[in-house]
Amino acid sequence: MRPIVRNGVRIDESFAEAFPMRGTAIVITGPNQRWAKQAAVTMTGFATSVIGCGCEAGIDHEISAKETPDGRPGVRVLIFAMSSDTLQTQLVNRVGQCVLTSPGSACFGDLESEDRLQIGDAIRYFGDGWQVSKKFGARHFWRVPVMDGEFLCEATTGLTKKAVGGGNLLIMGATPKTTFRATEAAVAAMNEVKDVILPFPGGIVRSGSKVGSKYKAMSASTNDAYCPTLRGAVATNLDEDIGCVLEIVIDGLNEQAVAKAMRAGLAAILKLGPEDGAVRVGAGNYGGKLGPFHFHLKDLLP
């Protein structure tokens, strides 16, 4: 099969296989951008993969003071999980431990939907009877007295059952340096897309996994077919000019957003070319039998 080549970069005739998830969005505000972001970074920490963290979470984008409900600088956070119950638990735990505790913070729902998840409705009990309910039209807020004043938290936020998790790109380059450059360019471009997050550290994962292991206790293990140091020893997927592989995983509130992010990332990688960036781009899948969403790279080319 002749590979597709764009600007000298080879593109696999492959697709990213993604799964349905439950997703939600909230806005965290603070006295300034730094502290709004601090609360968001803390609550989205240790949320790279549902396998070990219970949920996948990240910052969608920062919001100027003019556009937030309370007129202070804010950050939009997205959280994804495999079931509505887990998402509810993770949301309340994370807001309770990381946003409620962060100085000057406030928390608002930011997803329109009939299905609701509790935020303030659960956190209010921290107020020990001094919590105050406030309704404005259809919106309901809780004011919880805390040591720096009040924690203002919307009662609920929306829940979407149309979220998509596991969109991905495999970026393959000659050296770690050039692969990094291509991947970082892709991450920067994908961060501009709304309604998606890249849950791994800085948006990048270097330890892609395959299903199963030689060890009984492990359900997943290193993706040896993409490990450059095993290139000669296993049934490798790598060509001889590839010395490093990095992956970007994308979760989105809907299928279109994930496709848009993958398209933006792909465009950034291809623009850089093979000398300064990646020589090849692929995508991870399980043969197409597990996940209902298939993002074919050839359909996402610029």
Partner: protein, 268 residues
Amino acid sequence: MKPLVLALEQEPDQRLDLSPLSPHRLDGKSAKEIAEIEVQTTREKVTVGDLFRIRPGDAQTIVFEGGSTRLDNVGLGLKGGEIIVEGDVGKCVGRSMSGGNLVVAGDAGPYAGSALSGGRLEIGGNAGDFLGGPLEGELEGVTGGLLIVRGDAGARAGDRLRRGTLVIEGSAGDYPGSRMIAGTLVVLGATGVLPGYLMRRGTIALANPPELAPTFLDCGAHELAFASLSSRLLKPESRGAAKLFSSLLHRFAGDSAALGKGEILFPA
């Protein structure tokens, strides 16, 4: 679609009960049927046709041209649509309304917006006593929605307020927010004696507070995210209320003669 217009031709010689003249009760009625609706409150029979010149239109919007303090129960139980009164109204305007928009350009009598549970009621002039309050024997006043008075309100505004927002851009009489259960009451002008008398929960924001009862306890001046949120949410309806909530607010908790979980806020 043109609105249904009811032009008042003369001052009525008795108080009128206009509660039948709401969009959901006039929907699909012809001008002739509307003209036959009885609105008297005495033994003298009076129909809509006797007093109003009817210009047929879509009853989802009803416009009263001219007003009178004898027009009682305008928009009573309003569920949706719109009623505009280009004049004064009597007692109980918008009582028990649960949705829609009701605008009175002139003054309103007592019990305006009584037991409002949803929608929006705006009074361009002044309102009488017991703004939004319950009638005798009822346990709750306003339980939702938005009530705005551009002028002054009488005594006991927001009595037994449970939920929702009341904004009085002028001054309020004595005992505003008496027996409040919860909710939000804003007064931008002067305020009579003893605001929040026996309030349990809720928020009273006063631009010019009088001396408070000693049962209100000084909690100091604070910057509250809730206040800036209120400021932004109220801005489209009342710039004055938005300005009040954007200032540093002094908080007094009370009424400690009752439950004591309410608050009176005013600029520090």
